[in-house]
């Protein structure tokens, strides 16, 4: 039997967490349990490591593909013969289910070198499965610089062409700098090419983007956005090239999404000369060669001289709808907001709070389902520890249904991710107690 494909028995299935989902009034208190939408919660990550930030993608065959990061125990962090390190010693793991989330393959490490992932909650790795079944993964990696004897972060890409049994050795997509920027970049890094994302076009082209420090000339300077494109499903990449210079808030992760016919959308936090930092969307109609001027998700300005660490998450439906969910403090109260563009990203509707009444809400993710379904997950504090939630719109984001709490809520659950099958089955995963938990919900789909 192929060990890599041995189905996990999931002895770790959490009986205590099988409360499934719970309907919650918009004000925030748990209501009656939802009927018939429960399946057991599965633990995917290794118990000895601190696992975080799952990301999920469905394959064309309905497979569920999950990645997450696992931080190694402290004693594994300092290399032999050294007294200290500036690295974040993290691995990236992958697991796959081909039976609707009942069982998963044994998790495998994606990065080829142990501990070489610069991964944490605000630099979330990205996974996309293209229509031919190739699994594309983008993440930030650690690199020791020869010139500065310091660490750097790189934009890295790998793929699996055998259904997730193996991943190719990861490739660095960014140009490696000659100069030591450590006095400018901070955080013990001599250069940084991180907080990136990836989208795969309908033609199989792979577009990776990241925030790059190479043009920074002083501490606190803005980042630039660089990108690299593969036209052969990730086999080879063109050299990286500049997308937007000196405009990016340096630690707010990017996101990208394609429309079915190939319009590319890229989100970033744009730093305006007046000092406000707002999430914006750039549109490309020529496969990422050129991009439109940034379009703000809200007309209100977020004046902040700090590090929000907040991405804007994008999703598209057909050519018309572009959805965005993001944390903003430009609105009152601060929290996760949702907006929709019905003209292909040229304008966006007035943002709406996703979790009114929450003390804080953050870390949204989006998925698009059949019949105009938009599925938003996020985490929020209402009473007690932070908890992951789900909310669904069946009318392209015009209105949303009730707030549904995920998991047991006994301990903090954060950084949820969501994917929706063609029959409306909703798959969710999140981080709780340093573990990655997964749950398949029954179809949640528009009745009409």
């Amino acid at each position: 039997m192929n060990k890599g494909m041995v189905k996990f028995a999931y002895a770790f299935s959490l009986a205590l967490a099988t409360g499934g989902i719970t309907l919650v009034a918009a004000g925030g208190h748990p209501g009656a349990p939802d009927q018939g939408e429960k399946s057991r919660v599965i633990v995917l990550s290794a118990p000895e490591n601190k696992a975080s930030t799952p990301t999920m993608a469905l394959g064309p065959d309905g497979s569920i593909n999950l990645i997450w990061v696992e931080k190694l125990p402290v004693q594994a962090k300092i290399p032999a013969g050294e007294t200290h390190t500036h690295r974040i010693y993290t691995n990236l793991y992958f697991a796959r289910s081909t039976d609707g989330g009942r069982t998963f393959t044994e998790p495998i490490r994606v990065n080829s070198v142990e501990g070489s992932v610069w991964g944490f909650s605000t630099s979330r790795p990205k996974i996309v499965v293209d229509d031919s079944g190739v699994i594309h993964v983008f993440f930030s990696g650690n690199r020791a610089t020869a010139t500065a004897d310091k660490d750097a972060t790189d934009a890295r890409y790998t793929r699996s062409t055998d259904g997730g049994r193996t991943f190719e050795r990861e490739r660095t997509l960014n140009t490696i700098l000659k100069e030591d920027q450590s006095k400018i970049v901070g955080g013990g890094l001599s250069e940084a090419h991180c907080f990136g994302t990836m989208a795969v076009g309908p033609d199989g082209s792979v577009h990776a983007f990241w925030i790059d420090t190479r043009h920074m000339n002083a501490p606190g300077a803005n980042g630039s956005i660089y990108g690299a494109v593969s036209w052969d499903r990730g086999k080879t990449f063109e050299p990286d090239r500049l997308i937007s210079r000196d405009t990016a808030c340096p630690c707010c992760q990017l996101d990208a999404a394609f429309s079915p016919r190939g319009t590319l959308f890229l989100s970033m936090r744009h730093v305006y000369p007046e000092g406000f930092r707002n999430s914006v969307v750039l549109r490309s109609d020529d496969g990422g060669k050129t991009f439109s001027a940034p379009v703000r998700l809200t007309s209100k300005k977020w004046m902040i001289n700090g590090c929000p660490l907040k991405p804007a998450i994008l999703a598209t439906d057909q050519e018309k709808w572009v959805y965005a969910a993001w944390f903003t403090a430009a609105e009152t109260p601060p929290g996760v907001y949702f907006t929709v563009s019905e003209d292909g990203g040229k304008t966006f509707a007035e943002p709406r709070a996703i979790h009114p009444g929450a003390k804080i809400s953050d870390h949204p993710q989006l998925a698009v389902g059949p019949k105009g379904g938009v599925y938003v997950v996020w985490d929020a504090k209402v009473s007690g520890p932070r908890r992951a939630y789900l909310r669904i719109s069946y009318d392209h984001g015009k209105t949303f249904g009730p707030i549904r709490a995920l998991g047991s809520g006994e301990t903090a659950s954060m950084f949820p991710t969501v994917a929706v099958a063609s029959d409306g089955t909703v798959f969710v995963a999140w981080q709780q107690d340093n573990k990655i938990l997964f749950q398949a919900l029954e179809p949640l789909i528009a009745k009409k």
């Binding site: 500036h86 901070g186 902040i304 700090g306």
Partner: protein
């Protein structure tokens, strides 16, 4: 009987005078330096006067804030990778020097990972030698940690809380503030 009563009264008076002369300077001193015997007893000494960056739990942070009750506190959350935070450090340091004697205590808490004490936080702070105490959170649960002062912490850095002499959070300052901006908000409370 009367003599005994008088004697007792006299002893009480002497006792009160002794208490007065011991307690009042201690209270004054406590007010100036923010020393509270109760809090001093419950907090480890290395957290009261840290010579270097020390790990601190949520409960210890709560005790530390209690310990400095009677003083105006700026509680600053920062991280080594946050450039606006690092730019704020010199202003906070100057501010602490300028207003220490008027009752200001600045406490900076790094939200870097708890296991980055030796690798990141101590080296950074050692190089800069700020005039205020610096800690690193012990808990990985940031919500629970910052929840000591704010249940709605958004995770944005830097975030600074202005706490008045009664221990009440009076202001939440999100993003980097200048020396003058800090000065404008603390001086009304220092009067």
């Amino acid at each position: 009987m009367d003599r005994e009563k008088k004697h007792l009264t006299g002893r009480c008076l002497v006792g009160w005078m002794i208490a007065f002369f011991i307690a009042i300077p201690a209270m004054v001193d406590g007010g100036r330096r923010g020393l509270s015997q109760a809090a001093r007893a419950s907090l480890p000494s290395h957290l009261l006067n840290p010579k270097s960056v020390e790990l601190i739990s949520a409960e210890q942070l709560r005790q530390l804030l209690h310990h400095y009750r009677g003083r105006v506190i700026l509680l600053n959350f920062w991280a080594t990778w946050c450039v606006p935070c690092l730019k704020e450090f010199p202003d906070l340091s100057k501010l602490q020097e300028a207003y220490r004697d008027r009752g200001l205590t600045i406490i900076a808490v790094s939200v870097d990972e708890p296991d980055e004490l030796e690798t990141k936080v101590r080296p950074y702070v050692r190089d800069r030698a700020p005039s205020f105490s610096v800690y690193l959170r012990k808990e990985t649960d940031l919500d629970g940690f910052v929840g000591v002062v704010d249940e709605g912490f958004e995770g944005i850095l830097p975030t600074t809380y202005l706490i008045d002499r009664t221990g009440e959070v009076r202001k939440k300052l999100v993003g980097r503030k200048t020396y003058e901006e800090f000065e404008a908000i603390i001086t009304p409370l220092l009067r």
